[in-house]
Structure formats: C-alpha cells, structure tokens
Amino acid sequence: MKNKILIMLAMVLLLSVVATGCGGNEETINVYNWGDYIDPEVLDLFEEEYGVRVVYDTYATNEDLYVKMKQGGSSYDVVIPSDYMIERMIREDLLMEINMDNISMFEKIDDRFLNLDYDPDNSYSVPYMWGTVGIIYNTTMVDRPLTSWGDLWDEEFEGEIIMLNSQRDTLAVALKKLGYSMNTRDIGELEEARDELISQKPIVYAYLGDEVKDVIVGGEAAIAVVWSGDAMAMMDENPDLEYVIPSEGTNLWFDAMVIPANAQNPEAAEQFIDFMTRPEIAAMNADYIGYSSPVPEAVEMLDEEIQNSPVAYPSEEMLENTEVFKDPQDIISEYDRIWTEITSAQ
C-alpha cells in the first residue's frame, strides 16, 4: 500500500518535470523590471497580441540589476534601469542599440524626455516612467507640515522614519540636506553625508524597499522617503498621506527600457518596447502603478485628478531645483565603500 503511494508520487514528480520541460518551441521574451512596476494585465495583452510568452522577473535596486547583468548567467531581452545606470551600462557596452524605426510609437514620447544626458543620441533607451523623490507623511501622525530633508533628522520623529534601502537615493537625501550636489565627486562631502546618515540611524525605523508601501498605508510608521509614483499609489489607498518635494531640492529620475547586448530575442524586445509606449497601454500601466508616463497622449487618458496631481505631474517650477543622477564612473567603488560603511554602522 505504502509502496503504491510512493510510486504514484514519484510518477507525478516525473510528469511535472517532463511537463515543464516541453513546450519549448514557443517564442519567449525575458523581461526584467523593478518590483511592483507594471500592470500584469499589460503582459497578458502583449502575449495575446504577439503570441510571445513573457518571462517576467523583478529586482529591487539598480545595483541589483547591474550585478545580475554584468555577472552573466542570465539573459534578458528588456530591462528597465534608471538614468545613471543606463549611462554606466552604455559606457560598459552592456546595451544594444535600438532601431528606433521599429519603435513606431517613439514619436508619441514627449521631447523633454528624449536625448537626455544619460543617452545623448537616444539610441539605446526608450523612456518608461519618470518622477521625483520626496517625503511622504501621515498628517494624522505628524502635527506639522514637513518641508525639508532636515526634518528627517528631527528626534521628535524617532521610530517613525523609513529610509530607502537604496544606495544613491539615500545618499542623495543626506547630500542635499548638507547643501551638496547629489552627484558630488568630492570624497570629503560623501563622507560627511555618510556621517550624517549614521547619526540619523538611531531614529530611523527601518530601511525598506517596496515593503514601505504597506507600512505607510497601514499607519505603522508616519514618514518615509519614497518615489513619486509609489506616493501616488499610497495616497490613493490612504487619504491622510501627503507628499512633498523638500526645499533643498531633490532627484529627478527617468527609468527607460533598454535591450541588453546579450539579448536572445531583440526583435520581440523591440515589439515589447513599442507595445509599452502605445498610448492606451502606457495609460493603463501608469494608471495601475501610479507612476508618471512620458507619453502625453497617455496622460490625457488618465483621470483628471491624476493629470492635475502635483505629485505625479509636477509643474516646471516645482522641478527647477532638481538634479538627475549621473554615473560616478571611476569613483563608483568609493560610493560602494561609503554605502557599506553606512549599512554596517550600528
């Protein structure tokens, strides 16, 4: 009796291996994106329309993505890094040029998102989303309006502050608080920022990634440093939340779709990029994730409320005091060292 069950179990196991083993003839495309950064329905629509199966995978930070791409062993067809990481990947020949003639929807993208410093001729990347970094806080838990990065060092908020578990973003907060550029190449300034962050550690509740959304929406903590799109999604769920761009200035960022140099299926990758740029798809996606689309026609399809939101679509003057991250190039190891020292400090 017992043997029979065992044999059956073994057969089921064997069958499942065989089952996953076949079906290899279908065309596939490997997409690697940030966690919580796409409307899953969009992927289904793409699969239906093009008959290409999407293998979807996620990462938590640009650095995570970079190491995974650089150290090989994995092959992706479309990845969606941020500005400074794209700059680094182009410099290190990790990307393939995209034939923009195949991206029929390319013209739909607003000019102000094209030919930016990280990809001056716009030959490697197609903008996906953009936004800012700011402070989100719960107005029922914080009794005064927060306006600056310096507020994050206020001991009154001990145990209520959540910082991003991301190297560049968190360093940028401290650098801006000190009045330095977030692209500083001065090791002294970076070390000052490090000391500032270490001195802040005792009052920080946690350093989180995507989990921050649940924590803030649920009122588990009052204040967090977040990306604007996540702020939109959180404010949608909890009306007590407020998002501010601190007075010291902040980071303006762009995430764009690129094709890695070792992509297996570049044609399908271009189809995918074209599909994602299509206004109705971009609108659907932006509506779902809360981030800001670089496609004006897509923005027009969103709710009036979102279109007029200063969080998702800030005015030109709100963006005056912003900086875009640049690749630190030769001093990357210094950034890494300083970040390790911050995370290791007690």
């Binding site: 150290q71 649920g218 890494d336 995370t343 007690q346």
Partner: protein
C-alpha cells in the same frame, strides 16, 4: 579507506558542489581584480586588511553575539521540550514531533514574513502589550526581533537531535541510578544530561551555523538596520559586485564556524557518536 562502488557518485557530487566552490571562494578571497575577468586577478591579502577595521569587526562581533544568544535560548527552551517529548508514549511522541515539524513544511521566508504583521506597530502582539499597559513598545526592526526570528526558525534543529539521543538512551541506566539512591536532580545531571551531550552538541552546531550566517532574518525583521555578516556578504555579491571582498568575509566566517565547532566538540569528551549519527 576503500569506497564502495555506490560511493563514487557521492564523491563526484562532493567534488562539484562542495570542494570546487570552496576552492573558488578561497581563490577569490586571496586575490583582487575585476570579478569578471580572471586575467586581471592578482594575489593580495588586501581584503583581509580591509576587514580588520572597527566597522567590519563590529559587524562580525554583533553576528557572533546574536547567534550565541539565540543558540543559548534555543538550548534552554529546546532541551525541556525534547525531554518532555521523549518521556511520552511512542504514539503521542510521534504526534508531538509532527507538531514540531509541521511549521517547517511552510516556506522559511513566508514564516519569517508572517512575523512582520505580528510585530508591527498595529500588529496583534503590540496591541496585546498595549492592552496590558505596555504602550509604545517597539517590537519590530530591532535586534530583539532578529533574535526572535532566529529562535523561532531554528528551534526544531535543537530539539530534534536532543530528542533523538534521549529516546535511544538506555532506561536501565536511569533505573540503576535511582536504585543507587540518586534523587531526580542527580539522575538528570549525572546520568541523563551527560549521555545526551552528543545531541546537545549537534543541536548547538545546527542552530549556531545558520544563525551566524543568516541574512534573511536580519533583513526582514531587522529592517536592514543592523547589518549582520551575512547581509554584508550578500551585499558584496548582489549589489556591489565585489566577489573578492565577499569571499574574504565568507572565509573569515567559515573559520569562525569551524573554530566554534572545534570548541563545542571539545566538551563532548566521550566522543560518543561524535556529534553525528543521530538521525
């Protein structure tokens, strides 16, 4: 020692999945250069020198300390559990062991994640605490939460080996001690406990090693705030891409684990079972 023919596949397995990786880690630890390009490697102990700094030594100290405390708590909690279970009739005993093991059928990550909702500021435990007057106690994202996660996850690894030794123990020895006039405490400390030492040693090793190298528990329940050596190694491999420094730290951690194993096996004077052969 002559190997049975059946032994060879295991030998190959051992070579490919344990020996070669170990040699590679050692090689990376003693070299520097671009992790991707073997031709740029050059021999150096630079990474060891880098590690000998207050920051990294502090991380190592904290990891060892937390692992030590959690092992101690597991032992204090686990031994009585093992003793109670081993005293039961076989039928009840099996059910109790099953109860102990069932939570482990769930994914480790999921179980640890569940604690987030229990310990959070609006979590059940915090609510209960504030109900009995302990308000404003922060349970999540600190070393205590990390310790709790370690004890919770690794306790069965302490209980099972001790239990297995206790059930195999010859009850005649206990009866003989009682016949010779030993009271219950003496029977325990002079007969039962010394005889169960091999199980205790195995339990300590099986809790200490995963506890000292964990990075998931400290990341999730510690809120990435207090980095442990495991997190530091993960960071080098996953975000920084400095495989050399990561390997250096892995080697240092391995030396620590080996040293602690040597230390614990010293207590096991009889070398009964040598800490192995318990399962």
């Amino acid at each position: 020692m002559k190997l049975n023919r059946i032994g060879y596949p295991y030998l190959i397995w051992l070579g490919i999945f344990i020996l070669i990786p170990l040699l590679l880690v050692t090689y990376f630890a003693f070299t520097t250069g671009d992790s991707q390009n073997f031709s740029t490697f050059s021999f150096s102990i630079e990474n060891f020198e880098k590690f000998i700094s207050p920051i990294y030594l502090g991380v190592l100290y904290r990891s060892v300390k937390l692992a030590f405390i959690s092992t101690l708590i597991c032992l204090v909690l686990g031994y009585p559990i093992a003793l109670i279970i081993s005293k039961e009739k076989p039928k009840i005993r099996n059910i109790m062991v099953l109860m102990l093991v069932i939570p482990m059928w769930m994914n480790f990550l999921l179980r640890t994640y569940a604690w987030l909702t229990l310990l959070g500021k609006n979590g059940i435990l915090t609510k209960v605490l504030s109900f009995i007057g302990l308000e404003g106690v922060s349970l999540l994202y600190n070393d205590t939460a990390v310790l709790l996660g370690m004890v919770y996850n690794f306790l069965p690894f302490m209980v099972l080996p001790i239990f297995s030794v206790l059930t195999k123990m010859d009850n005649n020895l206990v009866e003989a001690a009682e016949d010779l006039g030993a009271n219950r405490a003496e029977v325990f400390w002079k007969v039962i406990f010394p005889l169960s030492l091999p199980g205790v040693i195995t339990g300590i090793t099986m809790v200490f090693i995963p506890a000292v190298s964990t990075f998931v528990i400290s990341g999730l329940l510690g809120g990435n705030k207090s980095t442990l050596i495991g997190n530091l190694i993960e960071q080098q491999f996953r975000y920084t891409g400095d495989w050399h420094f990561g390997s250096t730290m892995s080697i240092i951690l391995m030396v620590f684990i080996l040293a602690s194993m040597a230390l614990t096996s010293k207590f096991d004077k009889e070398k009964e079972g040598g800490g192995g052969g318990l399962w």
